[in-house]
């Protein structure tokens, strides 16, 4: 009986590989456990405190780039959220801009215009092959050499460009402005309904309606109309140079802009290649067939090529989004107050809890990345072939 069992393990491929895999996993778990134990032991031996109670201590430092209020008396935990929001802000803005630039450049690279095509080619090859950190530092140093605060350039009334950032008037919402927002929301819902109804009509009668025109008019003019009816409940607070800095208004700091340009221009080069490959992957016959049916060029692109190209584009696009998000941790190089710079840098230094903080930061990045993957996978499923095609 026993020999039978042993024989099975040694000679049966399935149980043998199962055994080996279990062994390897077990060893790996043991390895991690030993490292964790050794670390805890070493920390204790060297008199270094550990634990997460530091999160409730007041941070003691200020963060200038922030989306939620933060003062030096707030806790390290709040500093974590300030950093997290800044990371998300640069990731979202960066992905958005990179996608737009990437799609444009990808399409231009396939254009029949020699000059445009080659400008796009040079752009892609240059940005793709230079480390993104250098590009971020380059854009940041260019931004630092904009005019000093006292010599600020006024681009429009109330808009100033300086090496301390781009200052603009900030809106002040007065009573009744919420109605404008509501009307905007209602207009969007209405336009979706209108689109559905008109599409149905088109299917029934074959008559085409200018859906896009009707809906844009609806979405643009409804809020404007409400805005005037409510007696223009919006004012602007223009920045004014007072003492050392501009007072009032809003500002986009050069640290943010440097990150945004660096990350999105770099990632856009990769996205453009993805887009180009996606478009090329759609077989020529598809395009020719739709042209033969009499579709106009922009309709061929919109209805035939892009939907099929998306199937090829989405998976690599996801990994570009992930890359951009992870690269946003390079903000530390130019003082952009993201998660790594603020919480993972300053808090780490003030409290000395390197292991705890790095674990938190790593888990946070992991969560962000997995969330992006999840949503992109859902989107990917929605553009894949349906049925048994």
């Amino acid at each position: 009986m026993q020999t039978n069992f042993l024989r099975k393990i040694i000679f049966d491929e399935k149980s043998r590989s199962l055994l080996i895999q279990t062994l390897v996993i077990g060893l790996f778990a043991l390895f991690i456990y030993l490292i964790a134990q050794q670390t805890a032991y070493n920390l204790e031996k060297r008199g270094i405190s550990s634990g997460f109670d530091f999160l409730n201590l007041s941070a003691g430092y200020d963060i200038s780039i922030r989306l939620i209020p933060f003062t030096s008396e707030d806790t390290h935990f709040r500093a974590y959220f300030v950093g997290l929001l800044n990371t998300l802000m640069i990731a979202v803005c960066g992905c958005f801009l990179a996608t737009i630039i990437g799609f444009l450049v990808g399409v231009i690279r396939l254009s029949s215009n020699w000059l445009f095509r080659n400008i796009a080619y040079v752009y892609v090859e240059f940005t793709r092959n230079v480390p993104v950190l250098l590009q971020i530092i380059l854009y940041y140093s260019i931004l630092l050499h904009l005019p000093k605060i006292k010599q600020a350039i006024e681009i429009f009334d109330g808009f100033f460009l300086t090496n301390r950032g781009f200052f603009s008037p900030s809106p002040i919402f007065k009573e009744g402005f919420s109605l404008v927002l509501w009307s905007f929301l209602i207009a969007i819902i209405a336009s979706i309904l209108i689109k559905k109804i008109l599409k149905k009509k088109q299917e029934q009668t074959g008559q085409q309606y200018p859906i896009f025109l009707i809906n844009s008019a609806l979405i643009i003019f409804t809020p404007i109309l409400v805005y005037y009816i409510m007696g223009r409940p919006l004012e602007f607070d223009a920045p004014v140079l007072k003492g050392f800095n501009f007072k009032g208004g809003m500002v986009i700091r050069p640290e943010f802009l440097g990150m945004l340009f660096g990350l999105s221009i770099y990632t856009a080069a990769f996205i453009s290649e993805t887009v180009r490959s996606g478009i090329i992957a759609v077989s020529k016959g598809q395009r020719e067939a739709s042209q033969a049916l009499g579709l106009k060029n922009n309709l061929v692109m919109r209805l035939i090529v892009i939907p099929q190209a998306l199937r090829v584009i989405i998976p690599p696009l996801t990994s570009q989004y992930l890359n951009l998000t992870k690269n946003s941790s390079l903000g530390i190089a130019i003082g952009y107050a993201d998660l790594v710079h603020g919480f993972g840098g300053i808090s780490l230094n003030q409290t000395g809890r390197a292991i705890e903080i790095m674990l938190m930061v790593m888990l946070t990045y992991l969560t962000i990345s997995l969330t992006i993957s999840l949503f992109m996978n859902i989107y990917n499923k929605s553009v894949q072939f349906k049925g048994n095609a």
Binding site: R46, D62, S72, N349, Q350
Partner: protein, 341 residues
């Protein structure tokens, strides 16, 4: 099967190596002697305190503490390898054992001394946080800085003092965080910030490197106590003693008038303390686990505190700092070493 075998071997190796690293907890002195050189954490470059000169040789008063320890241990002040550290990584580098001591304008505070597993062994420069502004701004006092943009090195006590100072005086500011001294210089000279704040010594050192130092003023307010000194890992008191008394030997050397030039003459002095310090009366070196001429080596190769100060940051250098608080207690300062007996 060979694949699995190599996986096993590599796993075992990793485990073995990690436990070997964890197991090496002999005395730091033995470790240093065995290695043949001292690993000393220094600044990434702060003129007068710790920076390589034109020939690539590290110089400064912080560097002199490293050299003093090397002179005490090896009888040769040059047996030091400098590990440049940023303000952010300096403690981790020391904790992890990559360096034997940290001598890098580091402020001695309670939490660092107690909570980070470090041991500060003395003060080699009494400093305080100051503010530097371009002279063209016409600012005469730190109380006029409301609304200013302030460049600041992250991960330092400076950062917290700054927040406290502006809060206490009801003023607002924009903090522009930078990683190193040179980045701060770049941001400040480009006009990204109006004010550069760090320890006053650092401001003087930075200013000396600007194209036109006279175009920048250091404001009179000193907003904090910043005792800067060398630190070692907690838990090896023998090693802490060696570093502590190497620094003290330089200070006592100044008190007793022993310079790098007159060590040999002083060997036949009538002052018993001089004889004890220089090892002419034996026994004191052995207490530290060193040779009896350890302090004589420090004083002849590195010099006393005054020599180090005058050579690197004194009024005759571009840094141009007065002794001030850093004069001996008998000259009106607060520099004071325990008696050598």
């Amino acid at each position: 099967m060979t694949k699995i075998k190599s996986l096993f071997i590599s796993l075992l190796l990793t485990l073995g190596v990690s436990s070997a690293i964890a197991g090496s907890h002999g005395s730091t002195l033995d470790l240093v002697k065995e290695r043949g050189k001292l690993m000393c954490g220094s600044n990434t470059g702060l003129a007068g305190f710790g920076a390589p000169n034109d020939a690539g040789v590290w110089e400064g008063i912080d560097v002199d503490v490293c050299r003093a320890v090397a002179a005490a241990v090896f009888g040769d002040a040059s047996k030091v390898e400098y590990v440049p550290t940023t303000s952010k990584v300096r403690f981790t580098v020391l904790q992890s054992g990559e360096i034997d001591m940290l001598s890098r304008n580091t402020t001695w505070t309670l939490s660092r001394d107690v909570d980070l597993g470090l041991e500060f062994v003395g003060v080699n420069y009494y400093d305080g946080q100051g503010f530097m502004v371009p002279a063209s701004l016409g600012v005469n006092s730190a109380m006029e800085l409301d609304g200013a943009s302030v460049c600041i090195q992250v991960g330092t006590t400076t950062e917290m003092n700054l927040a406290d100072f502006f809060k206490a005086n009801g003023m607002s500011y924009e903090s522009v965080p930078v990683e190193t001294n040179s980045e701060a210089d770049a941001a400040y000279t480009a006009g990204r910030c109006d004010v550069y704040t760090t320890d006053a010594s650092g401001l003087y050192a930075s200013r000396a490197g600007y194209p036109d130092p006279s175009a920048h003023v250091v404001l009179p307010e000193i907003v904090s106590k910043e005792p800067l000194g060398p630190a070692v890992r907690h838990g090896d008191s023998e090693w802490a003693d060696i570093v502590r008394w190497s620094l003290n030997a330089m200070i006592i050397g100044e008190e007793l008038g022993i310079t790098s030039g007159n060590v040999d003459e002083m060997m036949s002095s009538n002052n018993p303390e001089v004889l004890r310090l220089l090892g002419a009366e034996p026994g004191y070196g052995a207490m530290l686990g060193l040779s009896d001429d350890w302090a004589a080596n420090i004083l002849s190769q590195v010099g006393n505190y005054s020599e180090s100060f005058e050579k690197h940051i004194g009024p005759n250098t571009p840094i141009n700092i007065q002794r001030g608080l850093n004069a001996l207690y008998k000259d009106g300062g607060i520099l004071y070493a325990p008696p050598f007996r």
